[in-house]
């Protein structure tokens, strides 16, 4: 076990840090450096007995945790509490955090622990920080105690320590967002109940509307956090759902657009997926849908929405869109996880045929140029011909069609499938042979 306390000490105390890297000059930190130094330290001041026993106890706890011996860990933990008496002020300061981290871990898994135990422990450790409240709340949510969790988060909202820093503000925002999420839960539960109820009952619906309005007010909790760069998928999703329900489409669109296009945010595919599904829900014009998907195509060309993108492009009137439609299919099939996607192969086979019939040989050749040297082994090897035929005959047929189109009828994959005698596919294979002969981009040497 690494010296946990040393690890935690690092961000705070950087005074002597340079000394470790004098030798290597890399600035790299080695958690196992102490182990080497301990073997060398024969003279000089020894570690105090107190520090030695607490250190040993800590490593025993960590070992017990990793061996999943919760009972043992809890008993060591009991002894470890002596670290709170450490005369080293730095260690003393760090102790509650370590105790909280290890203690919550033990209590989460310990067979005899309960929500009550955990809460009692968490309440005593409240001074550790805001994240403590959040973790406690998550634990409570996990055990289905939403109201307690909500109370906990409300307490955390007012948490202040020292100067108000930006990170503290972010954390408070985060706490608020989680609170908002809890409110969203009760809201959506009510919504579900309402949808099941008799809508004519006036009194009920008024009450429900009131609750809605209330939770709607508090759901503003989300808005401050989702302006901070980060991945806030659950928050954005629920926020948008609530906004939409209250008819604030513009607000929802603004939130989603900001989440998807703000440069400070990571390029989260979900942001674009949410935006696209929102646009689809509000029946946005096709150009807008295409724009949303085009960005997704640039980030994740392997996403299953690319098939939808392809169909949209295929139906487009503009030639460049139809050309891109081919590229999207090729791009999707480049990925290892998509090689057995029969829909993609079906689309490619039919689209290739359609394009070649329309005399757009150039488009195909352009896409094929960069794939010519590896697609044959990646997709159309003899091995795949055999295994595809064995596993999925339809897939083998579609792939053989594409192979024939791209590599000519001499291709091994194509020949292997052609050779197979299959009653159901017989007609299809014959048709395929004809098409390949007519449209293949590889003309047999005359």
């Amino acid at each position: 076990m690494s010296d946990f306390s040393e690890e935690l000490a690092r961000p705070g105390s950087e005074d002597g840090q340079v000394e470790t890297s004098v030798v290597s000059g890399t600035g790299m930190h080695f958690p196992w450096l102490w182990k080497h130094l301990d073997t060398v330290a024969t003279r000089g001041k020894k570690k105090k007995d107190f520090a030695q026993t607490t250190g040993a106890c800590l490593s025993l706890i960590q070992e017990a945790l990793l061996k999943q011996r919760w009972q043992q860990a809890a008993e060591y933990m009991h002894s470890y509490l002596q670290t709170l008496e450490d005369s080293d002020s730095n260690k003393k300061q760090m102790a509650p955090e370590i105790i909280w981290k290890l203690g919550s871990e033990i209590l989460f898994y310990h067979p005899k622990s309960s929500v009550k135990t955990f809460s009692a422990f968490a309440d005593q450790m409240k001074n550790v920080g805001v994240l403590n409240y959040l973790k406690h709340a998550l634990y409570l949510i996990h055990h289905g105690m939403l109201e307690d969790a909500h109370r906990n988060l409300s307490q955390a909202e007012t948490w202040r320590y020292g100067e108000k820093s930006s990170s503290q503000e972010t954390l408070i925002n985060l706490v608020q967002a989680y609170k908002g999420l809890l409110e969203y839960y009760s809201w959506s539960k009510k919504k579900m109940e309402l949808s099941q109820c008799d809508k004519d009952d006036y009194a009920y619906s008024t009450e429900a509307r009131n609750t809605f309005r209330h939770s709607w007010k508090t759901s503003v909790n989300f808005s401050s956090l989702i302006k901070t760069p980060g991945v806030w998928d659950p928050f954005v999703k629920s926020y948008v759902e609530m906004l939409e329900f209250h008819g604030d489409r513009d607000g929802a669109r603004k939130v989603l657009t900001n989440y998807a296009y703000d440069k400070k945010f990571p390029s989260n595919p979900n942001a674009h997926i949410y935006l696209y599904s929102f646009l689809k829900r509000v029946r946005a014009p096709r150009a807008e849908l295409l724009r949303a998907l085009q960005i997704l195509y640039q980030i994740v060309p392997s996403h299953k929405l690319m098939l939808e993108f392809h169909t949209l492009l295929r139906r487009s009137d503009r030639e460049e869109h139809r050309k891109l439609g081919l590229g999207v299919l090729f791009g999707l099939l480049d990925f290892a996880g998509c090689t057995k996607n029969i829909t993609a192969w079906k689309y490619l086979a039919s689209y290739l045929r359609q394009i070649l019939m329309q005399n757009h040989l150039g488009w195909v050749q352009e896409e094929w140029k960069s794939r010519r040297n590896w697609w044959p082994t990646f997709h159309f090897s003899y091995f795949w011909a055999k295994s595809d035929w064995k596993e999925d005959k339809d897939l083998a047929y579609e792939k053989a069609f594409v192979a024939g189109m791209l590599l000519g009828k001499g291709c091994r994959y194509f020949r292997y499938i052609l050779k197979q005698d299959h009653q159901d596919l017989w007609k299809k294979i014959k048709r395929m042979k004809k098409s390949v002969k007519k449209y293949s981009i590889v003309k047999p040497a005359a």
């Binding site: 000394e19 073997t39 990793l66 309960s114 989260n268």
Partner: protein, 837 residues
């Protein structure tokens, strides 16, 4: 492919690593991921995550790994330690450690040990200024000095702490006289070189990156129960071995036949295998070479190509998509795509590191879900590079910085593409990034934001990782993370397509080979130390076999140590029912309450050694003890000028003493006075005379001479006859001590060989242990293109090995030795720890 519909919330901040203002939302707890917020109200999905989490436990069947093969017949030496390199004096326990290289001591040792190298050139240069023979200086030249006279003049000057004081007490003053001339040039040049070397060694001790990725691989066979282990063997790790192993579902793995071997000309650092479209390839990385073999249907490897990497290769990986495609990276910063048919294609080259400037020349490359996109990694980050795009451009996949809330001083140690063949497993877009502190899972579709972060806390560099397919369809996938120090952690990772990858339960640690020490019989201190060193040798390879078994899923984990030993352990997935969370109200109100007085009752019984296991260990130990100690590469310097100075011839008796001492040291035996024949009556031994009935000293003496077992047996016989009343008369403390010892004797199960003559046993054991080279491997060895290989120095030749003892042959050439009696102070006061006393 589908993308996780909702990712766990995380802050995204750009900036350098160690910005303390960034709150790390990963909370450093294993259950955080179990709490990923459900999207629908949690009432209906109040999942029993703790239950399912606790149920995930791969229980080792033994308390520690067991040796699979007989020990490597070549001696192994643990190499330099921190004690050899660092300054030992004045180290204080401060909050931040201070590392000072002990150049002074190393330099002085070097001058003593390798005086010939250090001073011979100078001596040669000054040869014409010295006259070694003859009485008076008859030369007219003023620049020629008589060495004899000089030495005589210097006589009586007492140097401090020099082990060859009897040689150099005269030279000492000469060195003072000649110091200004001699000292500077030698110490300056040597000091600089030595400091450089020590710094390199220290860095290597802190992080030995050569074995990144691991040098052990498992090749699955035709049936799921049989496979091949591919590993380097031999003291220099330069023999690539293919050992067929069968894994019966119940018992221990069985080694089938002798391993096939391919002799290489350099140490093997990394072994990777990959089966793509039914074709199995095996790639090996050495320091300056990479080679790829094709493993045929009969499991016979055929060389495809050998590549020489001028600047040194740091990583090799095989493509999981296209058969026969490899990625190779070199210290120059270049990454190449290598196909044996088409040769090399340089994909990326940048001598600078990716994110910020780091002096390390370590580079790594692996594949991604797109067969034409590679990842390029160094200590500061990982980048995705399109091999078909314009050179140099790409997208950063991982950045050691605030994005992943990295700590200060955090660096990438290993990156690995988690290839997936099963559609029922994790998405094929995940990459593993390991640093000294944490493990990250990064999805290439969402760069820079880690999907999962776990603070592994391994006490050694995590250079080995291995992801296994799920035990059952849909169950979490075990990920082994191995540290160089032998620690292995097992993480359970789950997350099929629509959900983000997360930990499915608390990670567990697996026993390391050092934990197996208890399975071995107790030994004499010297052998015990040898065994312990051997078991604690760094782990340089990790492989696992996962024979699909219907009843209880089991994993075989193999570990290769730097000493060339392979250890195995079997892990079985525990049945979920055996430890369900108790539903009863808790009686224990938490850690703040006083600990219960009842001893801890863990629900699981601890595994214990079976008699088979201990027998296996004893057999292995027997073979290990017959391995000769590492041959010394160093010889004591000889000063033959004394032969020229006729007057200083030593007396014969002293020569005999010296010879006896040298012989005893070479044999590692105790030198007793009776061995030397005559006793100097004038000098009684300083130690208090042991009484005739002092059993302890007698026993220690016997044990030291290697006769411990015989003594025990003799003594046991004696004790059974003697009356108990007599024993009670002895001093209390001593009897207590001996009773502890005698209680030990009952469990002492020393192999017979420790007392038997060494030479005969050794030769036979060597013949037995040397794996006979199978015919096919000889062929393949011949097939190795010799012209592509250049001769690489074996590690034996490099000064890695420690100086152990003086060989008797060298000792005999030293003829002079002052009497111990006449100059008692001249005997080295300081014990040299390396000498083996």
């Amino acid at each position: 492919m589908d993308f996780p519909s909702s990712l766990p919330p995380s802050l995204f901040m750009t900036g350098p690593l160690g910005s303390s203002d960034v709150p790390d939302l990963s909370f450093m707890c294993s259950w955080r991921d179990a709490l990923t917020l459900p999207e629908s109200p949690p009432q209906n999905c109040k999942i029993a995550a703790p239950n399912s989490a606790t149920a995930l436990l791969w229980e080792p069947s033994m308390p520690g790994p067991l040796p699979l093969l007989p020990p490597c017949p070549d001696p192994w030496d643990p190499g330099v330690t921190a004690q050899d390199l660092l300054f030992r004096g004045g180290f204080h326990y401060r909050r931040q450690p201070q590392v000072v290289l002990d150049v002074t001591e190393q330099l002085s040792r070097f001058l003593w040990d390798h005086g010939d190298i250090a001073f011979a050139p100078l001596g040669k240069m000054m040869l014409e200024n010295f006259k070694l023979e003859g009485g008076r200086n008859r030369s007219k030249k003023m620049t020629v000095v008589s060495a004899k006279k000089l030495l005589q003049d210097l006589g009586g000057h007492q140097p401090w702490g020099c082990p060859w004081a009897y040689l150099s007490h005269r030279l000492r003053r000469f060195s003072i006289v000649g110091g200004p001339v001699l000292g500077k040039s030698v110490s300056h040049l040597l000091g600089r070189l030595l400091h450089e070397e020590l710094a390199t060694r220290w860095e290597q001790l802190l992080l030995d990156e050569a074995f990144t990725g691991g040098a052990l691989a498992w090749l699955p066979g035709r049936t799921s129960q049989v496979g091949q282990l591919v590993y380097p063997a031999g003291g220099a790790l330069d023999r690539l071995c293919f050992q067929e192993v069968s894994l019966p579902s119940g018992g221990d793995p069985q080694v089938l036949g002798d391993p096939g071997c391919i002799q290489l000309q350099g140490p093997v650092r990394q072994v990777v295998t990959s089966t793509v479209q039914g074709e199995t390839l095996l790639a090996v990385r050495s320091d300056y070479h990479c080679a790829v073999w094709k493993v045929g249907k009969q499991r016979r490897p055929a060389t495809l190509q050998v590549l020489r990497v001028e600047k040194g290769a740091t990583g090799i990986s095989l493509s999981p998509h296209l058969p026969g495609e490899l990625a190779v990276c070199s210290r120059s910063g270049a990454v190449c795509l290598w196909t044996p048919q088409n040769g090399l294609q340089q994909v990326y080259k940048d001598p600078e590191t990716l994110v910020f400037r780091d002096p390390s020349s370590w580079r790594w490359a692996d594949f991604t879900a797109h067969p034409r996109v590679l990842t390029v990694g160094d200590r500061t980050g990982v980048k995705m590079v399109d091999t078909q795009g314009p050179p140099g451009c790409g997208l950063l996949l991982f950045r050691a910085g605030a994005e992943a809330s990295c700590q200060k001083g955090e660096r990438v140690l290993l990156t690995q593409y988690l290839r997936q063949s099963d559609p029922e497993s994790l998405p094929p877009t995940l990459h593993l990034v390991c640093t000294q502190f944490s493990l990250y899972l990064v999805d290439e579709r969402l760069p820079l934001v880690p999907m999962l972060k776990w603070n592994h806390g391994l006490p050694s560099p995590a250079l080995l990782a291995h992801l296994l397919p799920p035990a059952h369809p849909g169950s979490p996938q075990p990920l082994f993370l191995g540290g160089l120090g032998g620690q292995v952690q097992l993480l359970h990772i789950t997350g099929k397509e629509p959900s983000a990858p997360r930990l499915a339960g608390p990670p567990q640690s697996l026993p390391s080979s050092a934990d197996s020490l208890s399975a071995f019989p107790l030994l004499e201190p010297k052998s015990q130390k040898q065994l312990q060193e051997r078991l604690e040798a760094p782990t340089i390879g990790l492989a696992s076999a996962f024979p699909p078994c219907a009843s209880t899923p089991a994993v075989w984990l193999f570990q290769l140590s730097a000493a060339g030993d392979i250890f195995y352990q079997r892990l079985t997935l525990q049945a979920a029912s055996s430890f369900h969370r108790d539903e009863e109200p808790p009686s224990d109100p938490g850690p703040d309450s006083p600990a219960p007085s009842v001893p801890p009752m863990d629900p699981r019984p601890t595994p214990s050694w079976t008699s088979q296991a201990t027998a296996c260990c004893s057999r292995w130990l027997e073979a290990l003890l017959q391995v000769p100690p590492a041959a010394p590469v160093w010889a004591a310097p000889t000063f033959s000028h004394r032969r020229l100075l006729g007057r200083l011839e030593p007396r014969e008796v002293e020569g005999k003493v010296l010879q006896g001492l040298r012989a005893a040291m070479a044999g590692g035996q105790l030198l007793q006075q009776r061995d030397l024949g005559l006793l100097p009556s004038a000098e009684p031994p300083p130690a208090p005379e042991p009484g005739p009935q002092d059993e302890l000293s007698e026993r220690l003496e016997e044990a030291w001479a290697g006769q411990g077992t015989a003594w025990c047996k003799r003594q046991q016989g004696k004790i059974s006859i003697s009356e108990p009343g007599k024993q009670a008369k002895r001093p209390k403390r001593r009897s207590q001590l001996s009773s502890t010892f005698s209680s030990l004797t009952s469990c002492l199960d020393l192999p017979e060989t420790s007392s038997s003559p060494h030479s005969l046993e050794r030769t036979t054991s060597e013949a037995r242990l040397q794996p006979p080279v199978t015919p096919y491997s000889q062929e393949s060895a011949r097939q190795t293109p010799q012209d592509n290989m250049v001769e690489l120095p074996l590690p034996k030749d490099t000064p890695t090995s420690r100086h152990v003892a003086t060989p008797p042959s060298q000792a005999s050439s030293v003829q002079a030795m002052p009497s111990q009696r006449s100059t008692p102070g001249s005997w080295p006061q300081r014990k040299r720890p390396r000498m083996g006393f």
